[in-house]
Subunit: 360 residues, 2 copies
DNA sequence: CTGAAAGCGCTAACAT
DNA sequence: ATGTTAGCGCTTTCAG
């Protein structure tokens, strides 16, 4: 007998074994529904387990079984509709597949992101799903993880160019941006700015590329002063509008790289007394639960955020099920355009000779 | 020598021990900065550990040390500004105290909440922080947890009446609600509705109590038809407005139990073509990052959500530091009133004889 | 200062 | 069908 100086009241297999007068192994098997065990013993074991409130020690189980049934997650932000939704998706999908999700938040801080990745490895999670911070440049940690053989999957954000050997799930950023801008152009916008988004992160790069492609496709110049890269958060949008306004260089329409960037635009506009959409109009990549309620209701490219999460887990489970395969998998989800009260062409003055386009 | 059929490339203490030609124990001590070990050996060990990319196996460490340095967290929702912020607070405070946070989300589902609590116990987290779902009634699981001796702390939401033996951190809901309603009355509102919130959860009970106390304190009747309890989410607000409108019973002001409830009110109003604040005005308990941007900008009782998280961890660490003490600790944080564009008294018609109050 | 021994609670392999 | 043996990788005595 071990287990004399117990630290807490949590029952162990031995406690049950003693009572039922079988071995620890029998109990373990019985509890997991192993076919070896007779119905009678199994029932007895389950009954006693229930009685004494037995809960398996997952720590011990993980150590012994060399798998933790945990999926590690690293996201840049959490108080943020998009990530909240992705996390929810991951969370639910993992849960219904008997996986626990270990959430970590980098706060857009690459250093902290690295530490989290190390911690997740330390915890021996079975796989890692990550959406990188906007400042992630150093890819060494990813190479290390690949060398260790820990499955890692990028959702939405990944470094550009991405480290090799990892699968990913993201939306068709370029096509989404293209559609939005093309729509804007079709209803008369000409002076369009593209704000936010570092091009060393895929989403910044692709969305900007989509913007530029649409402009070029319609013979419009891409003005340097109207392509203001930067972060993905509110501050970026806010600062950009202040800058453009100060320089008296306001475009007709701002294409915001993310929903928070658009929020920043709204805030700056409110502060400066600029009317949306009359003085400056906005459309953004990414939806939110309040887009319909803010005024004017924000038009956007809607990302299937929840699906991004569930699909991510799906791909991860797939990888986990085929440990030998080294094949990368890349899932690209489409993004819809949702036009609400911004970017409807109403602020575009036909007198300037630009005229309203054909609409939808 | 053990460790022959290694499953992955993750280095262990033995790997380092072999190379440095010391024992596993020495390596373990060296890595943790135990004073036993000589500088020379320690340096050598650290060097090799670094070289081969050693990461401690936290699972094994937890099992052996009988503590996991993990704090379990259960929240009802995640794509929600308030909880996002609380989680961020908990997360950061835990992180800087060397604790990992294990997040679980009940989705306002008591059954799922129960499972999560069991899982967290199974994972042998050192402590649990929970904000209960709106439907949590069965307190048996809490009794079980208390019996096990696992420290558990309520943040914000807890059952009412609460199970005994647990500490908590929450805001002064009653006083906050009281202030909001008193302010509203002072600037002329009389017909005030109180929407959302089950009274079997503390926040619903206290906020409603604050509302009623303020009404009574100013000699106003609490109309049954204007106290619509229910959930804490958008749907509750939406449905309530539809109902009141259908019955032609719109009050002058709606006191929304939570920020999502207020959002629901906005959505319903938009759909019904009701103007806020002219047709019906709103104030709510709980702020959000978009309250200033929605139109009209929403006035509210601001909860210190981030602090709720950090204080929660503080209290938890305190409990963890004194395992013998069975003393409950209850921390109550104050809530501010923030008046923006709603609930400013502008829609209150003085002709009805009610007149504008003295303001602040 | 260093290491041998024991064990955390569980599972997998191999008897019986 | 049940039990025995041998770890998982680490930490904690406790003896050198």
């Amino acid at each position: 007998m071990k287990n004399t100086r117990r630290i807490n009241t949590l029952a162990t297999l031995d406690d049950i074994a003693q009572r039922v007068k079988v071995s620890r192994v029998t109990v373990s098997k019985a509890l997991r529904g192993h076919p070896d065990i007779s119905d009678k013993t199994a029932r007895m074991v389950r009954k006693v387990a229930e009685e004494i409130g037995y809960r398996p020690n997952i720590i011990a189980r993980s150590l012994s079984a060399r798998r933790s049934n945990m999926i590690g997650l690293v996201v840049p932000k959490i108080a943020h509709f998009f990530f909240g939704s992705v996390i929810e998706g991951i969370y639910n999908a993992a849960f219904s597949n008997n996986y626990e999700t270990i959430l970590t938040v980098s706060q857009e801080n690459p250093e902290r992101e690295r530490k989290h990745l190390q911690t997740l490895v330390s915890m021996r999670v079975d796989g890692i799903i990550i959406s990188v911070s906007q400042g992630t440049r150093d890819l060494e940690i990813f190479h290390w993880i690949r060398k260790l053989g820990v499955p890692l999957l990028f959702v939405d954000r990944r470094p550009s160019p991405p480290p090799e050997g990892f699968s990913s799930v993201f939306v068709d950023d370029k096509a989404g941006a293209f559609r939005a801008i093309e729509h804007a152009i079709s209803i008369g916008y000409r002076k369009i700015a593209c704000i936010g988004g570092d091009t060393r992160i895929n989403i910044g790069k692709e969305r900007t590329a989509g913007f530029e492609a649409a402009m070029k496709a319609h013979g419009l110049p891409v003005e340097k002063r109207w392509v203001i890269s930067g972060g993905f958060s509110k501050e970026t949008g806010y600062d950009a509008v202040l800058k453009l306004h100060g320089e008296r260089q306001l475009p007709e329409l701002i294409f915001a790289m993310t929903y928070p960037v658009a929020l920043g635009v709204y805030e700056a506009a409110k502060e400066l007394g600029l009317k949306i959409p009359q003085d400056v109009d906005v459309i953004c990549f990414g939806d939110s639960d309040v887009s319909r309620v803010i005024s004017p209701a924000l038009s956007c490219v809607r990302q299937p955020s929840y699906e991004l999460g569930t699909k991510g887990v799906e791909v991860m489970l797939n990888i986990l099920a085929h440990p030998e395969s080294t094949q990368e998998q890349h899932l690209i989800l489409p993004a819809d355009l949702i036009v609400r009260e911004t970017c409807t062409g109403k602020n575009v003055i036909t007198a300037t000779g630009r005229g309203k386009g054909t609409g939808q």
